[in-house]
């Protein structure tokens, strides 16, 4: 009972933070945090709960971004419809990609997903007539009947927020449903889950597609929010960045991913105009090094990520379970129950 109350308070706080965010920081950056957060959550769904490390999640984020952009630009549809188009494309891509890649495990799975993402990257780069090549798809309109939504404005942030929240809710729902529990069971011991009669492969494909759909939702909002889709969306560094966000926040904690995303994006934003110097080298020049050092520090000192460590501190002594290592052990269950 008390736990439930505490959870409700937690959700309420999160909602208030989400609503107040564009008042505190620049609205464009606030939207970035919300959508990258959702992207990271979608990956955590797969990594933390399915135990599958996808290193090609940019494929869904990017292809949905392009699809949403094309729908908005050439068909002139209102932005929620464009988002729907983006999600649809992500799902359609995820079905074959997921079906093929879940046949492999661990590092092989990561490599197969990376290969698919790279294929998409090259196709997008070459298909200039449609995607604009490395110039990107520019000047994507955001139309909504009766509203003007300039990019980087608080107006678009609030228009996009309900869709993003829907995505977050779906992720939470999936984790707390019987489906989510089966996914965790498969992650922990696939043979036993199979012996219990679960069609594990089908569950994994479904988890993969769900994760891709959420990544697609995030990618569509991102492209529409910025008003363009560029090749960067599909680049492998994007896949890497989102993995980094999840690990920073805490694998298998769902909401930790949002914190990881916020840390990375705020840091990047701050470093891009920072005037600080360290031993004669401007931090701005060395933003990659600074981000990397902070990443190393967090991984070394908070083994479960920022949020994961906080949760562990709150668990009653003795009641804690073995530390999760990249979603390999049991963290999903307890942290999922407590993480809300």
């Amino acid at each position: 009972m008390r736990v439930q109350l505490r959870h409700r308070l937690g959700y309420l706080t999160a909602l208030l933070v989400a609503l107040a965010l564009p008042q505190v920081i620049y609205p464009g950056l606030a939207l970035d945090i919300v959508v990258w957060g959702l992207f990271a959550v979608s990956l955590d769904l797969l990594l933390g709960f399915g135990g599958l490390l996808s290193f090609g999640h940019a494929a869904f984020w990017g292809s949905a971004g392009y699809a949403a952009g094309l729908a908005a630009k050439h068909l002139g549809v209102p932005f929620p419809v464009a988002v729907l188009a983006g999600v649809t494309v992500a799902v359609l891509l995820a079905l074959p990609i997921g079906y093929l890649s879940i046949r492999r495990q661990a590092i092989y799975f990561a490599m197969v997903t990376l290969a698919f993402a790279q294929m998409l990257f090259y196709v997008t780069n070459e298909w200039r007539g449609l995607t604009g090549g490395e110039n990107g798809l520019q000047a994507i309109p955001r139309t909504f009947p009766g509203l003007t939504l300039p990019s980087g404005s608080a107006a678009f942030y609030y228009a996009a927020l309900p869709l993003a929240l829907l995505g977050y809710w779906l992720a939470w729902r999936a984790v707390h449903s019987p489906f989510g529990h089966v996914l965790v069971a498969i992650r922990d011991n696939e043979a036993r889950a199979q012996a219990l009669g679960y069609p594990t492969r089908r569950y994994k494909v479904l988890g993969f597609v769900l994760s891709a759909a959420l990544a697609g939702l995030a990618g569509s909002l991102f492209a529409l929010g910025h008003g363009f889709a560029a090749l960067e969306l599909l680049h492998w560094t994007t896949s890497g960045l989102v993995v980094m966000m999840v690990i920073l926040g805490g694998v298998g904690t769902l909401w930790g991913s949002v914190i990881g995303a916020a840390v990375v994006l705020l840091l990047r934003d701050w470093l891009s105009t920072s005037t600080l110097t360290l031993a004669g080298v401007s931090l701005k020049d060395a933003w990659g090094v600074v981000t990397g050092v902070i990443f190393v520090l967090i991984v070394l000192s908070f083994r479960r990520g920022v949020w994961g460590t906080l949760l562990q501190l709150r668990l009653p002594r003795g009641g804690s379970r073995p530390a999760p290592r990249a979603g390999q052990t049991t963290a999903g269950g307890p942290s999922a129950a407590d993480g809300g």
């Binding site: 620049y26 464009g28 950056l29 970035d32 780069n125 070459e126 200039r128 604009g132 090549g133 490395e134 110039n135 990107g136 520019q138 000047a139 300039p150 990019s151 980087g152 991102f222 910025h226 008003g227 363009f228 560029a230 090749l231 960067e232 680049h235 492998w236 560094t237 990047r268 934003d269 701050w270 470093l271 891009s272 105009t273 920072s274 005037t275 600080l276 110097t277 360290l278 031993a279 004669g280 080298v281 401007s282 931090l283 701005k284 020049d285 060395a286 933003w287 990659g288 090094v289 600074v290 990397g292 050092v293 902070i294 990443f295 190393v296 520090l297 070394l300």
Partner: protein, 485 residues
């Protein structure tokens, strides 16, 4: 210049950086690193406001300790040296500036520079372009008096890290929150175009200097976007025409297979055929590539007069080295290069490129006026300027004078003051800002790389051998549709 180098750097450079990071991490993060981080965190609140403070000397963070003294010195010197020179030149061909009361919308003028300060373009433009803009502001104040505007002139800057979304967000933030009047520079074509969209939406000025894409004055053009120094059409047309007329008519072209390379190939072909040459073969190389030997070995059998290479950055360096390894020059197949910067020549070595012809927007030792400015720049930064550095100074200066002419910094009035304006300065010769598509047309140059033994000083890489008059240097108006709205 645009993303092809960027991609390559992501393929190779980033890996290097990652590897470096891991190593740095495993060193146990020496106390220095920790201390620095703490300082970084502690300093955060001040850092967010620092870039917008109107520092009279240098605004850039890096090396700021050394900068103020030299800035002061050179600013004093400059007021009698090159600023009046450029202003005098401007006065000669343009309507005189009328220094009158100026009305400022927000009480100050803010020039924002967004470029790559940490990646592949950091040397080419980077924070030295920010200094260059600050130089322009200082010289402007020296010429027209410190109180020329009823408010401060500020320079702010951001590193877009070659990411279009960072450029996009920073541009919005600069316009909305920092009151930026104009955004300058912007290398990397996807980032350059993303910011053009922001300028259009916010109805604020944007002068692109180091972006190469012709889209800025083509399909993506808009009322508030200007393209200042160069573009792919200018490069291709310049080299294609000159080399066909002077060196040889039968071309063999190699280009990297992505937007920039395809554009260059198309523009080169047009220029070559217009000047009576033929393209006997044009081959696309997969992008990115680290080995071009199979392509280069096929070249001699086709017996071309010229080999045209459209690669850039790291790929250009590789292909030029392999060209020398296979001794194509000895087989009487001279090399023509689509896009090359002084930094590339430095990396490849002037001797391997000796005799190669390329097109450029400006050269630091073009003439006395250019050299005078370059000396001043060198005193401040210790390097010779690229045309991107010079272009940033020139664009900032022209913007400030346009505000003076308009009598206000209100964007539409400044756009009007810029449109159709003719001028010359140390960077732009016989320049005119086309009202139709906001392309700034000016004289361009053919340069030829000279062997190191002929170099008289550092950075003396090439000789200007031909001037392409402004009227023929850039894509004619109406070649592609551009609706300024």
């Amino acid at each position: 210049m645009d993303t092809r180098v960027d991609r390559q750097e992501q393929a190779t450079g980033r890996l290097g950086r990652r590897a470096f990071l891991t190593r740095a991490g495993s060193l146990g993060l020496a106390a220095a690193g920790l201390g620095g981080l703490l300082a970084a965190c502690g300093g955060a609140p001040t850092a967010t406001t620092a870039p917008s403070s109107a520092a009279p000397a240098a605004t850039t963070g890096g090396g700021a300790t050394a900068a103020p003294a030299s800035t002061a010195a050179s600013a004093a010197a400059s007021s009698s040296a090159s600023a009046p020179a450029s202003a005098a030149a401007a006065g000669a061909s343009a309507s005189p500036v009328r220094p009158g009361p100026v009305r400022l919308v927000a009480g100050k003028v803010v020039l924002a520079v967004i470029n790559d300060q940490s990646g592949v373009y950091a040397d080419l433009t980077g924070k030295n372009s920010v200094r260059s803009v600050q130089m322009a502001v200082d010289d402007f104040k020296a010429k027209y008096g410190p109180n020329v505007f009823p408010g401060a002139i500020e320079v702010i800057d951001a590193d877009h890290q070659n990411k279009p979304e960072v450029a996009n967000t920073k541009a919005q933030e600069f316009y909305d929150r920092n009151g930026a009047n104009v955004i300058l520079d912007l290398p990397t074509s996807s980032a350059a175009l993303a910011v053009a969209g922001v300028a259009k939406a916010r109805k604020k000025l944007y002068i692109n200097i180091s972006g190469a894409t012709t889209e800025l004055t083509g399909a993506q053009c808009n009322r508030y976007t200007f393209h200042y120094a160069y573009d792919t059409w200018m490069l291709a047309n310049g080299t294609g025409t000159y080399v066909t007329e002077k060196v040889g008519k039968k071309w063999y072209i190699l280009y990297p297979n992505y937007a920039f390379g395809q554009d260059m190939d198309k523009s080169f072909r047009e220029a070559i055929e217009k000047s009576g040459g033929t393209v006997i073969a044009s081959k696309a190389t997969p992008f990115p590539s680290t080995d071009f030997s199979s392509f280069l070995l096929e070249v001699p059998s086709a017996k071309p007069d010229v080999l045209g290479v459209m690669h850039a950055g790291g790929e250009l360096i590789t292909i030029a080295k392999q060209y020398n390894e296979f001794k194509l020059r000895d087989q009487k197949i001279p090399l023509a290069i689509g896009l090359m910067f002084d930094t590339d020549i430095k990396a490849i070595g002037a001797d391997s490129l000796a005799g190669t012809v390329y097109t450029t927007a400006w050269q630091w030792n073009l003439d006395e006026q250019a050299r005078a400015w370059s000396d001043k720049f060198k005193a401040l930064t210790n390097v010779r300027p690229t045309f991107a550095h010079a272009g940033n100074y020139s664009a900032a200066w022209q913007y400030l004078e346009a505000v003076l002419r308009a009598g206000t910094d209100e964007a539409d009035a400044v756009v009007k003051a810029l449109e159709g304006y003719s001028f010359s300065d140390f960077f732009i010769r016989n320049g005119r800002i086309r009202a139709e598509d906001h392309r700034v047309v000016h004289d361009a140059y053919q340069a030829q790389v000279k062997p190191t033994k002929e170099a008289k000083e550092d950075f003396d890489f090439s000789t200007v051998i031909n001037t392409i008059p402004a009227a023929r240097a850039f894509r004619p108006v109406g070649a592609v549709a551009c609706k300024l709205d």
